[in-house]
Amino acid sequence: MTGVLTGRARPSSRSTSPGRTPRRRLRRALRRHGKEYLLFAALVGPNLALILVFSYWPVIYNLYLSFTSWDMISPTPTWVGLDEYRQLFTSADFGHVLLNTLKFVVLIVVGAIVGGLATSLVLNQRLRGRGLVRTISFAPHIISGAAIAALWLFMLDPSFGLLRALLDPLGISSPQWTTSSHYSLYALVMVYAWKGIGFCAIIYVAGMQNLPADLFEAATLDGANGWQRFRHVTFPLLSPVTYFLVVTSIIGAFQAYDVTAVMTGGGPGQSSTTLSWFIYQQAFQASNAGLAAAAAMVMLVILLTITILIARYGERRVTYQ
C-alpha cells in the first residue's frame, strides 16, 4: 500500500511521453495490490456512501437552504444571501431562544448527571431488589418521550393532577406549570432531567463496577471516610464516564423536542422555546425553511464549538486508570 502511495516505482527507461509512467505505475500497483483495493472499497464504500448521503449531504443542503427564502411548497428556493442570518441575529426573539437554550441545557445536564451520580451510589450498594430498581430507574430513558410528556402533563395539571393532590393538603395551590411562562421552561427541564437520570445512573454504575478495589482499600486504611473516598477516589476515577455523559447529555439536550411538543409547544409565547423547537416551528409551522436552516447552522456551530472546547480543555481533567 505504502509503495503505491509514495510512488516508489522508478520511471522506466522506455517512458518517453508524459503520462505513460504514472499509468504504468498504477497498473503495476493495481496488479500488486488490486485485491486489497477491492476489499478496501467493498468494505468502506457502502459505509462512506451512507455517511455522505445521510450525514453530510443534509448538512451541505441545509447550508445552501440557509441562504435562501423558501416555504417548502414553491418549486425552488429564492437566493437571499445572508438575509436569514441577519433576521436571526437582529431579532430579540432569537436572543431569547438562545438564552432559553442555554438555561435549558445547563440545568438538564447538571440535573441529570448529579441526579444520576447520586442514584448510582445507591444502586451500586448490595441491596435486595437492586436489579429491579436498576431496571425501573432506566425505564424513563427507553419509554417514548411523548408518553412521558402525557404522563407529566397529567401529574402537573393544576386542576386535577397528582401534584395538586400532594400540595392541596399543605394549603399550597399547584402552579400553572405549563401555561405560565414563569414555570414552563422549568417544567420541561424537570421532565428531561428526570428522563436522563436513569441513563446516567446506569452508566455510572457500570463505571463504578470497574473501579479497582485496592484503591478503596488503601484509602480506607489511610483513614478516609465515605465522603473523602468518593471525593478523592471514586469521582476522579469516574471522570471518563462523566466526560462521556457531559458530551452526550449536552448534545441530547440541544436536540430535545418530543416532550416540548406535547407539554408546552414552546409556550406560553416563547417562554419554553429552545433552539431545536424554534427550528421545527420555523420550518413546519411558519413554512420558513430558510430561517429554520440558518438557525440549524447556528446550532451546528454552537455544538461543534462546545465539543471542541470540551475535547480540548475538558479531557485534560479526565483521569484514566
Partner: protein, 457 residues
C-alpha cells in the same frame, strides 16, 4: 481531468478534489432538479397503499390523507368502505396523518418527494398556502352546477377563489358553546347557554360556589392552542383579526375581547387557560366553554354529565367563523387518478354521506339535503344539541383573510393569547406585537395573493 479518469473506470483515481467537486455540483444542482417537475407537471407518484385482496383487481386506487382518528376516523372509514362496495373500478383508502398541522407538514414533505395522496383533507387555514403556490387542482371542471349548489353557500364558498373551487367542504364546523347541565342546575342557572359574554360573567359567582373535584368550579376554560375560538369571540366583540389583508387584531373589539377574558381569569378568578383544552370541561370542572361542533361526539363520550349546547354568546354583534376541513387534489397528479379522486369526493359529498358523517361526528351537514335524511331528522328531534350549529350557520362567515392566508397566523395569535391568558400581560401590548408579526407574514404572501386572489372571494 477528473472526467477523463472516471471514464477510464478507475475508482482508485478519483481524487479528493474531484470528489468534492461532485458533491459541490450536486449541492448546486439538487434544488434545481428538485424543482423540475413540481406543481405543474403530471408526474406525482402515489403514496404507499396496501390494497386488501378483495379489491386488488380494481383499476384505480385513491389514497385520502385525513386528520381524523378515533370515532371520527371510524365514521370516515365506514363511508370509504361504502364507496368501495358501491362500485368495482376504484379502491379508496383513508389514511390518518395526525392533526391538521402534522398532516400539512407531511404533505409538504410528500410534495418534495413527489409522491402525494390523491385527496388531501386540508384544515381551513392550511390549503391556502398550497393554492398560492399553484399546486392545487382547479376543481371547477369537475364540480358542475348541481354539485356546487347542493352545499350550504356559507361553507362551499370558503374554498372558492375567483369563482373556481379548490377546496371542497367536508368536515366543516363552527364553534358553539358547550355547557354542563348538571352544574348549571346545581348553581340555579337556567338550562341554556349564556346569551352574552357579560351574562356568563354575571353567572360566575353562582358557578364558582359549586365544588367540582374538591375545588371551586370555574366559569370557563380558554384555549392557548388555537386562535379560532378567539377569532369567534373577537367578532362578537365587534373586532376583527384583519380587514382583507389589513391587520386590525390590535384594535377595538379584538383588544376589548382579550381584556375581557384576561379579567375573567386574573381579576374575577372565574376562568382558566387550559393546558389541554376541553379536559377541564369534560371532567366537570368548568361550567361552559367554546369548542367546535365537531367535538360533539367526543364530548358525549368523555363527559360524565348531561351536556348542553347553545349558540356562542354575543356581545356587540353576532357572527361566527367557520372552520374544519375540506378536500383538495394536487395539480401534478395524473389525470386518471384525479378523476378517480373526484369520484370519491362526490360520494362523500352526497346527502347520505354528509348526514352519516355529521351524525357520527357532530360536524355540520355541509350538503343542504343532508338534514332531510330520515336518520338525521330523527336524531335532530331526539337531540336538540345537533341543531345548534346548523341554526348558527346563518351567522357564519369566512375566516379573516390574514388568518386564512398567512401561513403562521394561528400560532402567532395563540402565542399572544398564551401571554395574555397565562402571564396576565396587557392585551394591547401583546396584540401590538402579534399585529407586527402578522404584518411581516402578510408582506411575504402579498405578491402571490394579489396575483391569484386579489379582491375576489
Amino acid at each position: 481531468m477528473s472526467g477523463q479518469r472516471l471514464s477510464q473506470g478507475s475508482g482508485a483515481t478519483l481524487s479528493r478534489r474531484s470528489l468534492l467537486g461532485l458533491v459541490g455540483a450536486g449541492t448546486l444542482l439538487a434544488p434545481a432538479l428538485a424543482g423540475c417537475s413540481h406543481g405543474g407537471g403530471s408526474g406525482f407518484a402515489q403514496v404507499d397503499v396496501k390494497v386488501p385482496k378483495k379489491y386488488d383487481k380494481r383499476k384505480q386506487k385513491v389514497v385520502l390523507w385525513s386528520s381524523w382518528n378515533a370515532s371520527a376516523g371510524k365514521v370516515l372509514d365506514g363511508l370509504v368502505e361504502k364507496f368501495n362496495d358501491s362500485q368495482d373500478e376504484i379502491y379508496a383508502q383513508a389514511q390518518y396523518q395526525g392533526n391538521y398541522f402534522d398532516a400539512t407538514s407531511k404533505v409538504t414533505a410528500a410534495l418534495r418527494a413527489k409522491a402525494v395522496p390523491d385527496i388531501m383533507a386540508f384544515g381551513q387555514t392550511a390549503w391556502q398556502i398550497f393554492f398560492l403556490n399553484e399546486t392545487l387542482e382547479d376543481l371547477g371542471d369537475y364540480a358542475d352546477e348541481k354539485f356546487s349548489s347542493s352545499f350550504h353557500p356559507n361553507l362551499y364558498d370558503a374554498g372558492v377563489i375567483r369563482n373556481r373551487p379548490y377546496w371542497i367542504s367536508f368536515a366543516r364546523s363552527t364553534p358553539i358553546m358547550y355547557y354542563n347541565k348538571d352544574l348549571f342546575a346545581k348553581a340555579g342557572l337556567p338550562d341554556r347557554g349564556p346569551r352574552t359574554w357579560t351574562e356568563l360573567r354575571e353567572w360566575g359567582p353562582a358557578l364558582v360556589r359549586q365544588k367540582a373535584a374538591g375545588k371551586s368550579a370555574k366559569v370557563t376554560e380558554l384555549s392557548g392552542g388555537d386562535s379560532w375560538e378567539f377569532e369567534a369571540s373577537v367578532w362578537e366583540f365587534g373586532g376583527r383579526i384583519s380587514h382583507g389583508l389589513d391587520v386590525v387584531v390590535n384594535k377595538g373589539g379584538a383588544v376589548e375581547c382579550a381584556e375581557f377574558m384576561r379579567k375573567l381569569i386574573f381579576q374575577d378568578k372565574m376562568a382558566i387557560l387550559a393546558s389541554e383544552y376541553g379536559t377541564n370541561f369534560n371532567n366537570g370542572l368548568v361550567g361552559a366553554y367554546m369548542n367546535s361542533t365537531g367535538a360533539l361526539a367526543g364530548t358525549y363520550e368523555a363527559a360524565k354529565f348531561e351536556v348542553g349546547c347553545s349558540p356562542l354568546p354575543t356581545q356587540v354583534t353576532r357572527g361566527v367563523p367557520t372552520g374544519g376541513a375540506g378536500f383538495s387534489i394536487f395539480k401534478g397528479v395524473p389525470k386518471e387518478r384525479k378523476q378517480a379522486a373526484w369520484e370519491v369526493i362526490k360520494f362523500l359529498s352526497s346527502p347520505e354521506s354528509s348526514a352519516a358523517w355529521s351524525l357520527g361526528t357532530g360536524y355540520l351537514p355541509v350538503v343542504k339535503a343532508a338534514v332531510n335524511q330520515p336518520d338525521y331528522r330523527k336524531a335532530m328531534q331526539k337531540d336538540p344539541n345537533r341543531g345548534v350549529a346548523v341554526a348558527q350557520l346563518a351567522h357564519a362567515g369566512q375566516l379573516d383573510e390574514v388568518d386564512a392566508y398567512v401561513q403562521n397566523a394561528s400560532p402567532i395569535i395563540y402565542g399572544g393569547l398564551q401571554k395574555i391568558y397565562g402571564d396576565n400581560r396587557p392585551s394591547q401590548e401583546v396584540l401590538d406585537d402579534v399585529a407586527r408579526q402578522l404584518r411581516a407574514g402578510e408582506k411575504k404572501i402579498k405578491p402571490m395573493y394579489d396575483k391569484l386572489v386579489g379582491g375576489a372571494g
